[in-house]
Subunit: 207 residues, 2 copies
């Protein structure tokens, strides 16, 4: 934990253990990447983690990546919403969630091997097992992709779990209170070619 990553609001929700931060980054399909380019911008991106490094990728023409390549500060935030928290009072309504924040400066990945490994990790982050069952990038595609690496050093997480917490004097109010859990559910795969069998790693998602 560093001062900018210390959780100030609801400090009891702060989490600083590396394993917990990594688990949130791994579970979140996308993250929101914040940077400044005269004004603040926030862009959704697919990330992937390899060990203690977070990888982002995109077109070499993108404003975000060009900015970060020049050494700008970045903030990558990944959030999972786990449930609606319905208290008797509107004031104590909340969400159950897990959120991880990584701050720092990104490094342009120019090594061919590291770049290929990062792109594989991004494909497998979206769907474990998929990198093995798809065509790796050609030299031309590799050149048309920019990969940035951010060390997961300045990072923290924030987690809320459990039931709503109402004021004692509200507990007798005639309003239903509780949690509605939420999860992301895959639907039936929609194939380009219905003749090809659905691979196991896709079927596992849905079953």
């Amino acid at each position: 934990m560093t001062d900018p990553t210390r959780v100030r609001r609801h400090p009891e929700r702060g989490r600083y253990e590396r394993a917990e931060i990594e688990a949130i980054l791994d579970a979140a399909l996308v993250s929101h990447v914040g940077f400044e380019d005269e004004r603040p911008f926030v862009i959704p991106m697919i990330h992937a983690r390899v060990g203690g490094t977070l990888y982002l990728h995109g077109s070499p023409g993108s404003r975000l990546l060009r900015r970060l390549e020049r050494g700008a500060d970045v903030c990558v935030t990944a959030t999972l919403v786990d449930g609606l928290v319905l208290a008797r009072s509107q004031f104590h309504h909340s969400l159950n969630y897990r959120s991880a924040v990584v701050l720092g400066r990104a490094r342009l990945v120019s090594d061919d091997g590291e770049k290929r490994q990062a792109l594989r990790a991004i494909v497998d982050h979206v769907l474990p097992g998929r990198a093995e069952d798809s065509r790796p990038p050609s030299e031309k595609e590799l050149l048309a992709t920019m990969v940035l690496a951010l060390p997961i050093d300045e990072a923290s997480a924030k987690v809320r779990t459990g039931m709503p917490v109402d004021e004692e004097e509200d507990e007798g109010l005639p309003f239903w209170a509780g949690v509605v859990p939420l999860k992301t559910t895959p639907g039936p795969p929609e194939p380009v070619d219905p003749e090809l069998p659905v691979p196991d790693y896709v079927r596992r998602l849905v079953d």
Copy 2:
């Protein structure tokens, strides 16, 4: 559309119609709010829209809200991930998504009526029908809540739908290609008091 909100990468995915932007903001449970405080920060927040205004709320002590109250630029990005897009080539892997971005400067809401309306909207944004069935904020709670208003003027959206688009020469490759649709699914409500009947507006979510 203004220059900072113009979609540059994949311009065919850009959407500038107000109704489409508003629909994405309404459908997204949380947004990611970016601001600068010596360095960029991105924080997940619950938002709500009333007409052409986006409301955010939080503790008057929060770094973000104190910063925005002083007139800092903000970027609010709301993203819905609708599916995994699996192409034969790793290069053309993607996600189906809807994302809305609102840029601007927030205004502190000091009018009592507007503040109460915004907080109701935030509760009903999380769960339509809930504001009616919960205790509104007391004067003390109102003072302990900061509400900011951001006009939805500088805004755009970005949308990807449909099947993967592979290079023609990859279409014969022996890899399954297609889309795995994703949606957020509520699970069975977990009550604080199992004696109270689950309200209709909660049951409607789950059924």
